[in-house]
Amino acid sequence: MNDPLKIAGKSFQSRLFLGSAGYPNQQVFLDSLAASGSEILTVSVRRADLTGYGEGLLDLVAGKVWLLPNTAGCSTVKDAVLTAQLAREAMDTNWIKLELIGDRETLYPDVEQLLRAADELVREGFVVLPYCTDDPIICRRLADVGCAAVMPLGAPIGTGLGILNHYNIETICRNSTIPVVLDAGIGTASDAALAMELGCDAVLLNTAVSKSNDPVMMAAAMRAGVEGGRMARLAGRIPKRLRAEASSPELGLIGT
């Protein structure tokens, strides 16, 4: 099935973005990445080793994936802009996943700071993918300032609670003029499938794979979940009914 994901004019065959943090070790990460089929890898600029020593994560994935640096750990506009600029220098990309965290307990995005930072970075020529709350209005405002995609949360980071507000995610997807990438909260493969069924263009996940007992198998499961959900969305689900209806014809049976 040729159904590429397009963001900022770039096409990807996979609709699964993978995060690079928290794996048992680099080899498990590399094997998980391969099993996931992901073409887009998010990397925390502040936590990545940018010294080029030779065995860092960036060295190991060089040329294999599209890097999406993120501003994890930033809490002010200034912080985030500086981090994005550092990423552009160090990783040679103008793409940035913009994270501006409001507090350490909930790890919720601070949308007021987010909008300002997104606006500034877009004007500086960045391709901005902001991590935001599952709020249709902020998603629209982020599209209005020129973001390349929006990344609403399914549930708080690292919780694995799945998609807590189906209605909002569906509303965001229905109204969005730019791709919607569900980010955060995915716990298992059915959550990823559900995101795609609700109309998301892609899914970003990390902990659900990296902290699984078998990250490589879970990465493969997520790939299948995303692909299944996408195909189901395109195929179209049947209307829900309140009463049963037999799938075989009831008329014309032998003996009637």
């Binding site: 794996y23 070790n25 680099q26 080899q27 936590r47 010294t51 020593y53 065995e55 007992n213």
Partner: protein, 382 residues
């Protein structure tokens, strides 16, 4: 590996005077080899000094690393003998303690995570006991009253890695091994595909076998055909001083986001951050904040204790977190003993036994067979 010509007194040059290089050197010298150890700085002052010395094969077992567990358990079992031998030879204590290790959790999320890890580790056959919050606090009365659950691992303990490093220095001296400090190895002397010695600037040191045990610095030794996939993994740590008459803690405790290691002299070690920052060696405010916040949540009494020391170390992190133990894949005469990551202290006894056996006899101990240097070539080809 084509073996050495087995001279009566084989000459072995070891690159790196950490606990791994020193323990291998000691074992080789005991067997009659002529041993020279070269350290870029001072022996035992890198990761060997920075470590916390936990011997915790059980509670540290995590998904994806099951393959490493038998090696860790075997080495842990060898520690009492290794420590006793070292103490008898040198007359110095190494602070081996076997009173067990406690893992604690307070919030619902932490308890759920502890339960998942406990079930995973029990599934590996590890001998662990689930404790109520009350039972955990009975073992450690100063734990946060909110402590809701714990896991006790009777077999996991600790050794004082700094004392062990100091004792190994003396052991080397007593067995006739020579330690050369502040020496940069500038190359390997390679003759027709075989390492025949070390190059130190203008000098060449002939050796029948060279052992690479340079920890996080292993890739930086010039002249290797394929440098091992080992990188520095920065860790920030600190220590506090407990009142010896009424110590705040007596067991090693793993809490969410930190571990606490009480020493016999009243030192309480708090560790450790895990950072991909190359050889950056600075303490940061965020690092100290994270350590103290996590320690204070587990053990509120730490706020009263004087700060004793803060330091940074570099774990030799291998790509799959397991060490590289065995003949070099590309060069005869070179043996690798590096990439021990967070397990260098724990794995010192088995590394010393198996690598000295390999150097002297050419035999690969079955315990280290899965950890050869060639495993990454296979991964690369796949």
């Amino acid at each position: 590996m084509t073996l050495l010509h087995r001279p009566d007194k084989p000459r072995v040059a070891i690159i790196g005077g950490g606990i791994i290089g020193m323990a291998i050197g000691w074992r080789l010298a005991q067997s009659g080899a002529s041993v020279d150890i070269f350290d870029r700085a001072t022996a035992g002052q890198g990761a060997t000094r920075a470590a916390a010395g936990m011997l915790a094969a059980g509670v540290e077992a995590e998904p994806g690393e099951q393959r490493l567990l038998p090696l860790c358990l075997e080495s842990q079992a060898r520690w009492p003998g290794f420590a006793a031998e070292l103490e008898v030879l040198t007359g110095l204590p190494v602070g081996l303690r076997t009173e067990g290790t406690l893992v604690v959790a307070s919030t619902r999320d932490e308890v759920e995570l502890l339960r998942a890890n406990y079930e995973f580790q029990r599934g590996l056959g590890l001998d662990l006991t689930w404790l109520s919050g009350a039972a955990a606090k009975e073992k450690e009365p100063f734990l946060n009253p909110r402590t809701a659950a714990g896991v006790f691992s009777a077999k996991d303990g600790q050794v004082d890695n700094r004392l062990a490093g100091a004792a190994l220095r003396v052991a080397l001296e007593k067995t006739g091994a020579r330690l050369h400090e502040g020496v940069d190895v500038t190359g390997l002397d390679v003759q027709t595909g075989r390492v025949t010695g070390l190059i130190l600037g203008e000098r060449t040191i002939p050796a029948d076998t060279v052992v690479l045990a340079a920890g996080a610095w292993s890739r930086l030794i010039p002249g290797q055909a394929s440098p091992p996939p080992v990188r520095p993994v920065k860790g920030q740590m600190m220590s506090l001083s407990m009142d010896l008459g009424n110590p705040l803690l007596t067991h090693v405790v793993w809490a969410p986001k930190c571990y606490l290691v009480p020493r016999a002299d009243g030192t309480l070690i708090i560790g450790a951050t895990t950072e991909e920052k190359g050889f950056d060696a600075q303490m940061t405010a965020g690092g100290v904040l994270a350590l103290l916040d996590a320690a204070w949540r587990a053990l509120p009494g730490v706020e009263e204790l004087p700060v004793k020391e803060m330091w940074v170390g570099h774990r030799p992190g291998c790509r799959d977190d397991a060490p590289i133990l065995g003949p070099s894949a590309g060069l005869d005469g070179l043996v690798l003993a590096t990439g021990h990551h967070r397990n260098g202290i724990l794995l010192a006894p088995i590394t010393a036994d198996a690598i000295s056996c390999l150097v002297l006899t050419g035999r690969v101990d079955p315990h280290i067979a899965p950890f050869g240097a060639g495993r990454f070539d296979a991964a690369r080809a796949a």
